[in-house]
């Protein structure tokens, strides 16, 4: 049986379709409310303990901020007073705001509307208080001079964490659904009884107090929605809407305070918790987790009692997803290219499918409904992960492939590889099996982890640049790296490798040193008592999340330029040392000159030397070595919260922004060009097709890349048999692949390939009996393919 797929036009006339259109049409705006109330409360309570004043500030915000129920809404709760409003988090960083406030509504990328009054309020009432009090300033104060010097060298960045805090977690929603916030408050009340008097009057006692205050504020916030719904119900003349509003009022009166009794209550409770965590702190990628598992008990109960049906459940999930689309964070203009897309999305992840804690397949009816719900709206958020294993039902496999073919963006994750990897990283088997997905694709134990998965981005290619230039930055022309020796003195490839190893180790040391300062500044100034009660560990230990309260405490560092490093090292080894075609000092000079007058050498290195991603062992072995080395280097470090550093190889947009500050590279890349994206081979250089790419990837020590990786594959031809795509993924997963996502190539991509053939050398069109790649076709043939593509769509 062919799985059916859902498209947005099918909900166009319905409630979901109307809300979706409203969301898509809404402008991005800045909202001052959170900053206003948060700053007022902090100003009043600054003398108190950070945990106390944090919970008081959250309480103030939740009590004062606008509560809004818009037409058609069933699932309610707003992060700001505007539909697509970005709140501000001045406690983290204000310096950029002073500069960007005037510019928000004028800039081209990520333009955000803001009223003149709000601009004045930010400049006059918000920012002055924070001078000398922000995380950024405290971090800079803590940062040793020797590290501070290396922070601005385009090798690594903490940009997102400095601006918005840590974020990147899933919460234990099951506990809230089962016992309500009231149950957790009771627990927090009992805790101090067991403490010594010193503890209960000290940090631990204050922690529980802050937790209770925050949770009570959350309950109060929901009640404000209940009151509003009741008021609106009284005022409306529409009997249908009146009934809906009364239901909303009843639901918000019960949850999240009490256990969820119905599916509707469960979804609303989950959204309140998800929302409030993102009002408390601004960190990106607070994720929903495995909602097909979390919501399942309430769904089954409702089905049994005849309260819901699949269509109703799907609608509620769609409405939940549409709510996540209202949440975004505005970025400093200079950082937008590295951020999570110009939409400013916060990458709230949702995962469905996969194994349960006992290792059985957990795919259920809600897994399908959740997929359909997402496919019916196809908005920028949430970010959707599909967990698959050798036990996943074939029908589920086929269904997700049908969606991928239809252009729905899905990340496929392989339980059979990820679970052993998480165990290796220190998880219990049960926790590893119950991993949730955070942000883009980072797996970690759901509701038990404070994993800071996108803490730092590390440009390994810049380190190789320094190794081949005796520490000189080829973009700026002055020494920035270690002086690891003049390349002309390198007698063997080992010398090159040693120089690279020194540079990497040095900058990773600087990174972890700097990160410790930043994490400490966050723990000192902006603890998260609300989120601490939502993740396992802090409540038991009496320690805030930011200080290591969670059960699992890792920090993710992403390697940028992975394919460039591997290809470059291989090119140096082969052409300089094995074949002695070029001298290293010549090569070093060409890189420094960005290939000026050496264009033929550049072309040779780019076109004639094998590249990672083509299933060529010699170069894949280099890639293996580079990946393993990065894991070795990180493994030596521990973070501020007592956890490990986890290597990741995914990029978001940082391969673009960091590429802009990376000089020419021996793989034939020009200075400033984009770097490779995650674990994906460099753009246009994997010319042997998808199976070869996958075979190259699965040679890497993926099991050690705990923080996750992204492999982006593009396909031409929606007519590709679904079964073959299923088999492609299954084989890749059997071979140990972790993650893959597909981009179906559309006619727009093909047109771009006509204009920029160099960037699309890997664009393969498979036509029966024909041998070739897209860019080598004549214009007329390319046009023909484009016409076919359009026709197929």
């Amino acid at each position: 049986m062919e799985p059916e797929i859902v498209r947005p036009e099918q909900v166009a006339g319905e409630r979901t379709g109307r809300i979706r259109q409203r969301l898509i049409d809404a402008p991005q705006e800045i909202c001052v409310e959170r900053a206003r109330y948060f700053t007022q409360a902090m100003a009043e309570h600054w003398g108190k303990h950070p945990l106390t004043r944090m919970s008081l500030a959250l309480e103030r915000v939740l009590n004062k901020m606008s509560v809004i129920i818009r037409d058609d809404e069933i699932i309610v709760g707003c992060r700001t007073g505007k539909l697509k409003g970005a709140p501000l988090f001045p406690e983290n960083k204000t310096r950029w705001l002073a500069g960007d406030v005037e510019n928000f509504d004028r800039r081209v990328v990520q333009r955000a509307l803001i009223t003149e009054a709000e601009k004045q309020e930010i400049l006059n009432d918000v920012l002055p208080f924070w001078t000398g009090r922000t995380v950024e300033e405290r971090y800079e104060e803590l940062l040793p001079h020797a590290i501070a010097e290396d922070v601005d060298k385009y090798v690594f960045t903490f940009m997102l964490e400095i601006t918005y805090g840590i974020g990147h977690f899933t919460m234990n929603h099951q506990r809230v659904l089962a016992s309500g916030l009231s149950g957790i408050i009771d627990e927090a009340r009992k805790k101090p009884a067991a403490l010594s008097s010193a503890e209960s009057s000290g940090d631990t006692g204050l922690f529980y107090e802050a937790v209770i205050r925050s949770l009570q504020a959350a309950i109060q916030f929901a009640r404000r929605y209940s009151d509003l719904a009741l008021k609106m119900a009284r005022e409306t003349n529409d009997p249908g809407r009146k009934k809906e509003l009364e239901t909303i009022a009843a639901v918000c009166r019960r949850v999240p305070e009490y256990p969820a009794e119905t599916f509707h209550e469960a979804v609303q409770s989950l959204y309140f918790i998800h929302l409030i965590a993102q009002i408390e702190s601004g960190g990106n990628s607070v994720s929903l987790g495995r909602i097909d598992q979390i919501l399942y008990p309430c769904y089954i109960k409702d089905r049994k009692e005849g309260r819901t049906d699949p269509a109703m459940a799907k609608e509620l999930i769609s409405l939940l997803f549409l709510k996540t689309g209202e949440i975004w964070n505005v970025l400093e203009e200079a950082y937008i290219p590295g951020g999570e897309g110009t939409e400013g999305k916060t990458t709230q992840n949702v995962a469905v499918g996969g194994l349960d804690q006992n290792g059985a397949d957990a795919t259920n009816e809600l897994s399908y409904l959740t997929l359909d719900a997402y496919a019916s709206i196809r908005t920028v958020q949430p970010n959707f992960s599909v967990r698959l294993s050798s036990r996943s039902p074939d029908f589920f496999f086929m269904k997700v492939i049908e969606y991928a073919k239809d252009g729905v963006l899905l990340h496929f994750l392989n339980d059979d590889a990820i679970i052993p990897s998480l165990i290796r990283a220190g998880h219990t088997e049960e926790d590893a099996r119950d991993y949730g997905v955070v942000g883009c694709l980072e797996p970690n134990a759901q509701g038990k982890t404070f994993g800071s998965t996108f803490a730092a981005q590390f440009n390994g290619m810049k380190c190789l640049e320094f190794a081949l230039s005796n520490g000189v930055d080829n973009i700026f022309g002055y020494t920035s790296g270690l002086e690891t020796g003049a390349p002309s003195n390198f007698a063997s490839f080992d010398d090159v490798w040693n120089a690279y190893d020194c540079q990497i180790n040095h900058f990773v040391n600087q990174l972890t040193g700097g990160m410790a300062c930043l994490d400490r500044a966050i723990a000192e100034l902006v603890p998260s008592p609300f989120a601490s009660a939502m993740i396992d560990g802090p409540m038991e230990k009496g320690i805030d999340l930011t200080r290591g309260g969670a059960i699992y405490n890792s920090t993710g560092v992403q390697l940028m330029g992975f394919s460039n490093i591997a290809d470059s090292l291989y090119a140096v080894k082969r052409t300089v040392f094995d074949e002695k075609r070029f001298s290293l000092s010549d090569l070093s000079q060409w890189l420094s000159d960005d290939w000026t007058d050496a264009e033929d050498k550049q072309a040779y290195l780019k076109n004639k030397i094998e590249k990672y991603g083509n299933d060529v062992d010699a170069v894949d072995e280099m890639a293996q070595k580079v990946a393993g080395h990065f894991c070795d280097v990180l493994e030596k470090h521990r973070n501020f919260r007592g956890g490990a550093y986890w290597p990741g190889v995914f990029s978001v947009g940082f391969h673009i922004s960091m590429g802009a500050f990376t000089g020419a590279t021996p793989d034939g890349r020009c200075a400033g060009e984009t770097l490779g994206n995650g674990i994906t081979p460099s753009n246009g250089l994997a010319v042997a097709g998808p199976t070869a790419i996958m075979n190259s990837v699965t040679k890497l020590p993926l099991q050690r890349i705990y923080n996750g990786m992204n492999l982006n594959m593009r396909f031409h031809g929606r007519k590709t048999r679904s079964r073959d795509l299923v088999c492609l993924i299954k084989t890749y997963f059997e071979n140990g692949g972790f993650q893959v996502q597909f981009n179906m190539v559309d006619s727009e991509t093909l047109r771009d390939a006509q204009k920029n053939p160099e960037a699309h050398k890997d664009l393969i069109v498979r036509i029966s009996g024909y041998s070739g790649i897209f860019i080598s076709l004549s214009d007329i043939a390319q046009d023909e393919i484009i016409r076919r593509t359009e026709y197929e769509m």
């Binding site: 199976t691 007519k719 029966s768 009996g769 024909y770």
Partner: protein, 341 residues
């Protein structure tokens, strides 16, 4: 360098191996393109497959005029970039190895069974999970009967599903199902001797049999040869298949507007296929994808062939369906026997 002469078949001349092909047999497949073809179909989109010898191609648009080719040529055969005096060229391909931009390219490389198998082995799991395998294509694989049979045997021993795409022009002995090729002139591939191509075909699980023009004269006009042998081979293979002694025979027809899609041609083939009880046919729509290749090989442009319209395709389908032939697009066949096996 080994010559392309199939009589000395230590190596087969291959111009490309492509993975993840989904339109030339069931499942996920790799295509091995043999170089050399006895036909010269005017619409051919793989003209680099014609000659059974390695060839030099020149992609002018990529040339940066760096003149590296001139400096590395030991024979002084390159006058200026792209201008090669063929009488002086000894096909050492130093120029293509050195060409930094990839403007000078080599078509055809003799590969051993071991080399090809090593290239294919990492793909095996993809074949096995998808019910796919390897397809010999070309060019014409039966031009290398011994080598291809050797490779086929090696793949079969590995348990790999094997399809052979053939133009049908080979000498075959109905009893042994044999065929073999001889090359009479350096640059012209001709058909084969009766002994060896048969073994190759018996090793295949599936023969994708290309049919083009039904009328012998028309075939001569558009494909360069008579088609009697092709018709005989098709009938013989169909017979073997029905007697359960041979591979599945699956005919494929390129739909070339105004050439193969005329009612007479379609009816001619349709009736024959029905008579042979081969009632499934893949229609391969014409495309212009290979046009640039003629330029690279400094061949005359092919004749102007119009783009296939949906309307004419429907007409073709109507004619064939009426005769009782089920038609499929490449990659959409129902492969009854192999999906289940």
């Amino acid at each position: 360098m080994a010559s392309g002469n199939p009589k000395q078949e230590a190596a087969g001349l291959v111009f490309s191996i492509q993975h993840f092909c989904l339109q030339d047999g069931p499942g996920i497949r790799s295509l091995v393109f043999f170089k050399g073809c006895p036909l010269r179909c005017v619409w051919c989109q793989n003209p680099e497959s014609w000659k059974p010898i390695p060839e030099l191609g020149f992609k002018k648009h990529l040339c940066t005029n760096c003149r590296t080719c001139i400096s590395v040529c030991p024979e002084g055969a390159i006058v200026s970039p792209g201008q090669i005096r063929s009488e002086k060229c000894r096909q050492c391909f130093a120029c293509t190895d050195a060409c930094p931009s990839g403007a000078l390219i080599r078509f055809g490389k003799p590969l051993s069974v071991k080399e090809i198998r090593e290239e294919l082995m990492p793909e095996y799991p993809f074949y096995q999970n998808s019910g796919g395998g390897v397809t010999f294509s070309g060019g014409e694989p039966t031009l290398y009967p011994e080598f291809a049979a050797h490779l086929a045997g090696s793949l079969k021993r590995d348990g790999i599903h094997l399809a052979i795409e053939t133009c049908g022009l080979f000498h075959a002995d109905p009893d042994t199902l044999s065929a073999s090729g001889t090359i009479t002139k350096k640059d012209t591939a001709q058909t084969a001797h009766p002994e060896t191509a048969g073994r190759l075909l018996t090793l295949a699980d599936l023969v994708l049999f290309d049919i083009k023009l039904f009328h012998p004269e028309a075939h001569r006009q558009f494909c360069g040869t008579d088609n009697r042998m092709i018709l005989d081979n098709l009938a013989m293979l169909a017979r073997r298949y029905h007697q359960k002694g041979g591979p599945l025979i699956w005919p494929r027809m390129p739909v070339i507007p105004g050439i193969t899609d005329t009612p007479e041609n379609l009816e001619g083939w349709g009736s024959l296929l029905a008579e042979l009880r081969l009632n499934r046919l893949t229609l391969v729509p014409f495309h212009h994808l290979g046009e640039a290749k003629r330029e690279w090989l400094q061949l005359e442009p092919g004749p102007c062939i119009h783009t296939l319209t949906g309307e004419s395709m429907e007409k073709t389908l109507r004619v064939l369906t009426k005769i009782g032939i089920s038609c499929f697009a490449p990659g959409e066949e129902d492969w009854p026997e192999y999906i289940s096996s």
